[in-house]
Amino acid sequence: MTALVFVALPVSLIVFGMPIFCVLLAATTIGLLYTQVGPLTAIHTAVFGNIDSFPLLAIPLFIFAGDVMSRGGIAQRLIEMILTVIGGIRGSLGVATIGSAAAFGAMSGSSVACVAAIGKITIPALEKNGYGRNFAVSMVTATGVIDVIIPPSIPMIVYAVAAQQSVTLLFLAGIVPGLIIAVALAAYVMLRAKALGIPVGPRPKISIIFESIRRAIWAIFAPVLILGGIYGGIFTPTEAAGVACIYAVLVSVLIYRELTWGDIWRIGMESATLIAQIMVLVAAAGAYGWLIATSGFPAHLVSFIDGLKLEPWLLLLVINLALLIVGSVLEPPPAILVLTPLLTPVVAKAGIDPIHFGLVVTVNLAIGLFLPPFGLNLFASNALFKTPLPTLYRGVVPFLLIYLAVLVLITYVPAITLVPLDWMR
């Protein structure tokens, strides 16, 4: 009966298209009435208490900063600079596309924003260079999710709050996996360029490289400010996000002059709705997580899984498969908020590091974003670039295999995520 209330009820309400935050509030209300572990007024306290959290304040600020950077010329200059600098090697344009996605990821946390910003600039150039439109769109769709893995990442902040872990440590743990994915994708693109017979372009002149760097110098400083500030111990992630907002606004309005104060207001309005969309979910999930923890359901789940005598590697395999399926139908924040209170006690009992597990969760859910047939980025690319979905399904398969291979590596070699943490601890 407990499993029916905590799992079957929310799942069936989600399937019927009810907004997920309402599902979580409904499941909490009914669960509370069923378990009688507290009064209904506790839901109000849990909802308020869950938003009243300083680390979570980084989410609205990173969303606003990312929105301003992607429209105010910062992202565009950074991408153009990378396109210029990475020249003279086979597949340089493809490699530059991946590099741009990684650099965009270091400024923003939205995967769809990354696909839109990178795709608008690189797809026409990739097509012109002989990569073919379908390959170009598939590549941008798949590389866009790197944004979720390379810090600052909104799903990582959500996981950190849900699992009561440090945002800074999670950000640090995400760097190496993000770079491994970028390098693996770049290697594949170079091989593909060779197979397609794409000629090696001329090596750009030093003067042109310097000119593109000069043009993008303010843009280059954005990720340096954000990540350098956090890892250098100057700012907390929340402070870094706030500083990034002010920096993005000042550079876009006063230096690049690509946005007016009116544009900033309009971007702020759009960011505010996106923030509300995510944060109301966080608030509702806080109440649901509180109920799950108070009811003792995770302890039952732990003893049930303990009874199965699964080896940690098998447990991680089962969790990976489940997360991939969930990630293909649910966006990372709700998936993390619903599953973290259930999974963290299970993996803790198996001796798996919570930061390492956070990366496993993030990478799985990132892959889910372009996992056919329901991955959100596939639909976004379909709407943005008018590429038919069946073409995209076929096109992303090689990229999917690369991500899955790296996922296996990250899952079973915890040192990839944990070694950089020793520098901070």
């Binding site: 309400l13 989600i14 399937v15 019927f16 298209g17 009810m18 907004p19 997920i20 935050f21 309402c22 509030l25 409904a26 209300t29 209904l40 007024t41 109000h44 909802v47 308020f48 938003i51 009243d52 959290s53 979570l56 304040l57 609205p60 600020l61 606003f64 992607s70 769809v112 839109a116 700012f235 402070e239 996000a241 706030g242 500083v243 907002c245 002010i246 207001w265 702020g268 309005m269 505010a272 709705t273 996106l274 923030i275 509300a276 969309q277 995510i278 944060m279 109301v280 979910l281 608030a283 139908v329 649910l330 966006e331 329901f374 959100l376 639909f379 976004a380 379909n382 709407a383 943005l384």
Partner: protein
């Protein structure tokens, strides 16, 4: 003007007012954060109340913005199954889940009212800002009421029409 057009005008008015409030809250958070970081590192002093103020503003931002998102049908949901349902089942599911959501939010609002009125009666204040706690906590109550109202208003104005698919809306937002 038809009845549904009047309802749409009311919904648009409330949604626009809420998003303006949410945007102002966002900008004030950015400003407080920026000034606080600047004064800590360059003037060696920081506002002790800044964190509390930003968090209270975030509560306002979230619940005001959530009312707008509700009216625009933009809350995160899983629409792949419902989109494939036969029309009659889909309409029933939208109306039933809408009414159920509003009922749950109504019940939670009644319970929130108890908490907020208790805070008001005891005049509880926050630690650093010494701000009456019933105000930020009241934002949650107001949020529950407004979201429930917007769900019902949307059902009355648009019937069982499905909102725009999320991916399409996001792609439009980015373009």
């Amino acid at each position: 003007m038809s009845f549904s057009a009047t309802l749409i005008r009311i919904g648009d008015f409330i949604a626009n007012a809420c998003v303006i409030i949410a945007t102002i809250a966002l900008f004030v958070i950015v400003l407080i954060n920026g000034i606080n970081v600047f004064s800590r590192y360059f003037l060696g002093d920081a506002w002790s109340w800044a964190e509390e103020a930003m968090l209270f503003l975030m509560v306002l931002l979230v619940f005001a913005g959530a009312a707008t998102v509700t009216w625009r049908g933009g809350h995160m949901r899983l629409d792949i199954f419902i989109e494939r349902m036969p029309s009659a089942y889909r309409k029933t599911a939208i109306i039933v889940t809408g009414l159920f959501s509003a009922a749950i939010l109504g019940l939670l609002a009644l319970n929130s009212f108890q908490v907020v009125s208790l805070l008001f009666r005891f005049n509880q204040k926050s630690a650093a800002l010494e701000f009456p706690m019933w105000i930020p906590q009241g934002c949650v109550l107001a949020g529950f009421v407004l979201i429930a109202f917007m769900i019902l208003l949307r059902l009355a104005a648009y019937g069982a029409a499905l909102p725009k698919p999320e991916a399409e809306a996001l792609a439009e937002h980015m373009q």
